[in-house]
Amino acid sequence: MYGFGVIKGMLVTLKNFVLSYFTKERLTTVQYPEERLPEKERFRNFPFLIYDDKPEDLRCVSCDICAKECPPKCITIVRDTDAQGKPLKRPKVFDIDFSICMNCGICEEVCPFDAIFMDHEFELGEYGRFEELNYHKEDLLKSAEYFAQIRPTDAALIEAKRRQKEAKGAHPTSPTPPIPPPSS
């Protein structure tokens, strides 16, 4: 019968109209600043640098792997030197340009020292596009406790791995995790 399909369609919208007052299933909008969705543990946004006890003790040894692997090349690392000009195993500059970063998580994946991880923080609005979004080492530092808090499962795994490594590290035979040779 002509016209019947139209009426059936109207009944569907009427059903949705009525049910949107009664079921959360249909009314899926979340009133954002007041209500928030639960955070997923694996959610990744921008990277941060992790330190163990105090902010000077960065896990990062400035091996430059993440900077090389970063697809949009948003990481800049400059190795620190001591007074004699001997390179040290810590970064002097560690910049991540959040305006370029595309949250792919490859830096976290390739880091052999478990020093860089993806954050859950996403409210990062700024009024400028350039220097405001270029995060420096000091802005990126976060503690290991924070990491354990946002990602308990991963943190436990990594902690176990590190402890195992430390135990092995007591033996002089096992070297530090190998740095893959950079290819041209």
Binding site: V6, K8, T13, E41, P71
Partner: protein
């Protein structure tokens, strides 16, 4: 196909040239159609693209093999999982990597969930092009949200998943993943029924979509049209069935085909495909084994991409992406960077016959024909 501008003996008339796009509500992005109109009838249509071009292929030549993976997410940004899938498949072919059983199942589940996402959204957007005031789109979004939540829980991101790795997937699925997929499987048919009651038999939709934008079978094959569009023209060609890639030969699903090859067929074939996808999901969830999700050889690609150097040669990997045949042609010269990396983008090639389908129809029809092709400009322009 040609359309003759009717000459009036008494009136001096002129075809009206309209540029639909690049800023137009219904071109699904920055796509432009230069249209010549006789009244409201289309006499000529020239697609213009490239506004979103970023030379994806050149970018890939400058980074490691894995480095392109997050960029494939941004090709067809609605179905990033299948884009990952096609790229991983091509590189696995090139490097001869084996994928563990569990990873295969996870891949299939992800690909089919992506198909659900894409087709639901497409139907919503098509209805928007038809002039419905966002209602179908928002119903589609409501359901898509559930699947995106799942992607976020597993891969860490809702749309830019970057989840597949050469020889497996990035990380095993979470513990509550399978129950949640089961919930979606339970929920989705109900939603589809409701969606169909709203749309499929609606006389306005039927009148608008039937006998519009007819694509004959031979032309469809010749023009390299793929995916649901090809099947709507009556060609039973599904790469999942033909190539048996991954583990698709284990799933007895059916391939719906249309007869008229018009917009309505394209719409309905997609609805039926979703129902088949749900069947695949049901079986995959039932059969998924335990085990590793990435092969130990593949781990070099994931853990230290600079050490991942596929042997010299080339490979073409293609999958049945929701939009059609998504192929990656990769050439390796034995180094850590691809020598050549080419994307055979389905929505780009499906656009080839846009003009043929639109000639002689009205402006409003051109819009829905474009909508039924299902293009995403990220993939067209690359």
């Amino acid at each position: 196909m040609e359309y003759e501008l009717k000459e009036s003996p008494t009136l001096d008339t002129q075809a009206l040239e309209v540029s639909l796009g690049p800023q137009h509500p219904s071109t699904h992005g920055v796509f432009r159609m230069n249209v010549k109109l006789d009244g409201e009838t289309i006499v000529q249509l020239k697609p213009v693209m490239g506004y979103l071009h970023r030379n994806h292929e050149k970018l890939a030549e400058n980074m490691s093999w894995l480095g392109s993976m997050p960029y494939t997410d941004r090709l067809d940004y609605i179905c990033s999982m299948t884009n990952n899938f096609a790229y991983a498949l091509a590189v696995e072919k090139l490097a001869g990597l084996e994928v563990p059983e569990r990873a295969q199942y996870v891949r299939v589940i992800m690909a089919e969930l992506t198909r659900l996402v894409n087709h639901t959204l497409l139907v919503g957007f098509l209805l928007n092009d038809l002039g419905a005031f966002f209602t179908p789109v928002l119903y589609a979004f409501r359901e898509r949200e559930k699947i995106l939540d799942l992607f976020e829980a597993v891969a860490g991101s809702r749309m830019m998943c970057n989840y597949f790795r050469f020889g497996g997937v990035k990380i095993d699925v979470t513990d509550d993943f399978i129950p949640q997929v089961k919930q979606i499987i339970r929920r989705y048919p109900k939603f589809l029924d409701e969606f169909e009651t709203l749309l499929s038999e609606n006389e306005i939709l039927m009148a608008r979509c039937q006998k519009v934008g007819i694509l004959p079978r031979e032309l469809a094959i010749n023009a390299g049209v793929s995916g649901p569009m090809l099947r709507a023209s009556g060609v039973p060609y599904d790469i999942r069935k033909v190539d048996h890639y991954s583990i698709y030969d284990r799933f007895p699903f059916r391939v719906p085909i249309g007869e008229a090859g018009d917009v309505y067929d394209r719409y309905y074939v997609r609805i039926l495909e979703m129902r088949e996808s749900i069947k695949i999901l049901e079986q995959a969830v039932r059969e998924i084994p335990a085990g590793p999700t990435i092969s130990p050889v593949g781990l070099t690609g994931a853990k230290s991409p600079r050490n991942f150097k596929p042997p010299k040669g080339d490979a073409y990997g293609r999958i049945e992406a929701p939009k059609g045949e998504l192929g990656f042609y990769v050439v390796s010269d034995g180094s850590a960077k691809p020598y050549r990396y080419h994307v055979r983008a389905p929505s780009f090639i499906n656009l080839t016959i846009l003009e043929d389908m639109c000639l002689g129809y009205k402006v409003a029809d051109a819009i829905i024909i474009l909508g039924s092709i299902d293009i995403v400009l990220g993939e067209v322009d690359r």
